[in-house]
Amino acid sequence: MMEKEIKIQTKHLWFYYHGRTILENIQVEIEKNVITSLIGPSGQGKSTFLMTLNRLWENIDGARAKGSVDINFGNGFEDIYTVPVSRLRRQVGMVFQVPNPLPMSIFKNVAFPLRLMGEKDQIRIAQKVRDALERTFLWGEVKDRLSEDARTLSGGQQQRLCMARALILEPQVLLLDEPTSSLDETSGRVIEDLLLDLKRTCTIVLVSHYMDQVKRIADNGLVLTDRQLKQH
């Protein structure tokens, strides 16, 4: 039997928001290249847990975390607090519940992370944008309107655009905060197919409220209740 390869591990992870304890002593291991679902009642801190994995909580006033989060980027486990935050977030992508295209064209939205990295090669940028859009099954729908404002796309298209934007840097981990909850069933299924395809190269942590979706696509499960995270 093949041994499980662990990608992320947390040790004694606590999280506080304006002094209130949100997560309590979280100790969890997340397997590499599988879809791990995270379920639990609303308001328990599922999104917060995702933000502890890419240090996004540091951008929120009143938030504080303690404990350790280690991720294996290929050279053994590294404490994420010792990794430069920009590098960490390029390796640990995140997609939110509500699509959040930036106020710019479709092309520039997807190319935005490359711009942040200082990429200047136009041909390379164009190729990577095309690859990312193809991976999210969006290229065929937008290839003739790349210069249009991304906010003119439908909700499902916007969410796939956000995934393309997160994927263009080829992250090793993808954090998804209820990515299908604002979409219709058809668009939701497209995203699910995409996730099943992505797990070949990516470790996916998926927050979802839909048990049928979890059963369909998740390999492992975590449940968050009363500030505690347990294996499902």
């Binding site: 951008n59 929120i60 920009s86 710019m104 935005f112």
Partner: protein, 294 residues
């Protein structure tokens, strides 16, 4: 009485208030048009000077509105030139960097500053001029520069607070989008947050432009005079449309002069409308174009 009745009553009241406001604006504009449209012709602006000579600043215009129009335009551009960078930077600081206590104190101070009557700001500018005149050089007098600085001080709170509020009202998800992709705080502010809140910021700028163009109390104490001609430099005194309107309304010798005042008021409105259109055009352009190129 039922909730539906109160709902309808409130809706009716809201409609009545909105219509009253639109009606009041229409009456004011209509009144100015009726009173002033007869005087709107080239002679009111350029008097007996050839328009091309006046526009190329080859010849001074006496007894026409051209110097006041140019003075107003210079005043607005200079004031906004001083106020915009400081106002935007302060607004960004308050929204993105200031600790809560500092933010609270500064916000309160800027709100108080916004409530200071313009005549007090004018007096302050005038006092500073006298101080500089006595302390540094007897060649320092009220002039375009001092008027512009005083006006920029007057409109600064509008720009600061609208920038701050526009940035703060962005949803958390928009704020987190760029950091999620590895952007630094500065990249997030300039590439995402400012373009996303441009609409609110431009509204503040438009308000500030209007205030700069119409304020009389500040400029009458800090540099505006009735017959200065087109200002030769920022250290010259100058004419301005609101001061001309005030002067004509209070000192007119015959009904024709008063009619000229109405004409000047109409031109001031058109000038302000033009500046607003430019501000909105810039906003539209900046919103459609992304803030960077590949």
């Amino acid at each position: 009485m039922t909730n539906a009745f109160w709902d309808k009553l409130l809706a009716l009241f809201s409609w009545a208030c909105a219509l009253l406001l639109v009606g009041a604006v229409s009456v004011i504009i209509g009144f100015l048009v009726v009173k002033g449209y007869q005087t709107i012709h080239l002679e009111l602006i350029f008097s007996t000077t050839r328009p091309l000579d006046a526009l190329l600043f080859k010849q001074q215009v006496f007894d026409g509105l051209f110097p006041a129009m140019v003075g107003t335009l210079f005043l607005v551009v200079l004031s906004m030139g001083f106020a915009l960078p400081v106002g935007l930077a302060s607004g960004i600081f308050l929204a993105e960097y200031a600790p809560p206590r500092v933010k609270w104190i500064f916000s309160l101070l800027f709100d108080v500053l916004a409530g200071i009557p313009s005549i007090v700001v004018g007096l302050f500018g005038f006092s500073i001029t006298i101080f500089l005149h006595h302390s540094f050089s007897d060649r320092i007098f009220p002039c375009l520069l001092i008027s512009s600085l005083s006006l920029s001080f007057l409109v600064l709170p509008y720009i600061i607070r609208t920038t701050q509020i526009s940035l703060e009202s962005l949803p958390l998800q928009v704020r987190l989008t760029a950091p999620c992709l590895g952007a630094t705080k500065l990249e997030n502010i300039f590439l995402v947050l400012l373009p996303s809140s441009l609409s609110g910021i431009v509204s503040g700028i438009v308000l500030a432009i209007g205030r700069c163009a119409e304020d009389t109390a500040v400029i009458m104490l800090t540099g505006a005079v009735a017959t200065a001609g087109v200002p030769r430099s920022i250290f010259s005194s100058f004419e301005a449309l609101p001061f001309y309107v005030y002067y004509m309304a209070s000192e007119y010798a015959d009904p024709l002069e008063l009619t000229k005042g109405y004409g000047a008021a109409l031109i001031l409105l058109i000038l302000c409308a033009g500046l607003f259109v430019v501000a909105y055009a810039i906003k539209t352009r900046l919103t459609l174009k992304t803030p960077y190129r590949f």
